[in-house]
Subunit: 239 residues, 2 copies
Amino acid sequence: MVLNLYLNLYSSSCRSLYIFAKLHVISFDMIPVDLMKAEHHSKEFVQISPLMKVPVMKDEDFVLGESVAIMLYLCRRFKTPDHWYPDDAKGCALVDEYLAWQHLNMKKHCTKVLWMKMMIPHFFRHSVPHENLEEATKDLNHSLDLLKDKFLRDKPFLTGDRISLADLMALEDVVQAISADYNVFENRPWLREWQEKVESILGQELCDEVHGPILKLKEAPAISSEMLNKFNVMKSELL
Amino acid sequence: MVLNLYLNLYSSSCRSLYIFAKLHVISFDMIPVDLMKAEHHSKEFVQISPLMKVPVMKDEDFVLGESVAIMLYLCRRFKTPDHWYPDDAKGCALVDEYLAWQHLNMKKHCTKVLWMKMMIPHFFRHSVPHENLEEATKDLNHSLDLLKDKFLRDKPFLTGDRISLADLMALEDVVQAISADYNVFENRPWLREWQEKVESILGQELCDEVHGPILKLKEAPAISSEMLNKFNVMKSELL
């Protein structure tokens, strides 16, 4: 039986997982979850995953949430090449360190900038106070500084000489910020260089396919007024 | 050479790690980091760990941050009993799922309640708006509901029949909320039962030793005015 992956490619975590599965030719059925229609809060979805988050994986009757957990499961289940999550204790500890750190740093701050700079003003037609956006971009800049000074340093990839799950996770968070027209590359030639290296390994065609929807999201029409209420919680958390 | 662990036992992540190391009789030197004096922002500490967070581990010249990464490293390095982080793909995936989820849920919400209900009013002599505290306790209650309905369900422990890193991490976050005099056990007999089971495995003496300082934190004197500025960032993030 093939895997089921419940995904929405506007989510950076879902894109990392989708790319990882495609890259390793893992058979899966993609079940799209429309976040704009709050399907992740629907009764049907909550029965599958009470966490109300994408991605979710179903491998026969084994249900698993959280992108980090799902990608580690796929590494073990499909014995993907060692460099993604090395067998040696120090190598995989460095990947674990990045995957733990990113939740409250790269992922949080890239998502926040996407919401404040694009989603809230464009989809919710709601203005974001200037100082809130400034604070969010300051946090993102600090995360990008750490991405370089703590993780990448002078290595080709975030955790060593070869690409790992850390790079794949970070790439999609960077794409999140790019989608909000935030110029992450300004004064950061190292970031462009790293991104190109990562994308050339993943394959440009696959990256273009996966990044297409989020990069074009700003061209989509504003959200219907009936949907606005469902998102008020997320909006108030971010403002 | 023994391990160095940079810790502050007011941090729930540090306590989980400390208990794990003690329980497995792993030799380590504890280097206390005084968060109340913002030592984690000091030049000396930033040189060791630019993430400016505790815990940090040094194993000879190998430096590692993030409690999740450090505990997984100790599991592999010291071959701790399998149930903490099972070898089988599904068993460890469930531990990975909890360890990924807790960052933005149990840990975040327990910490927030500790700050809003105790740290900010007591140490910073700053009142917290009622609606902010109400929002924080609502979030914590939702996390506790998920702890039961998604993770614990009818099993003895969060990820199966035996204790795992998930239980150890969750226990210390619950202690964080208890330290703020938040009655987590009200209408939750299952939580008390689970806590007692976990503590009996860890050993009551070790738990009492480790929980002592945080449970007594509310009796400590308010912070000096010269330190207040250093904490303004953390305070503004939480209010």
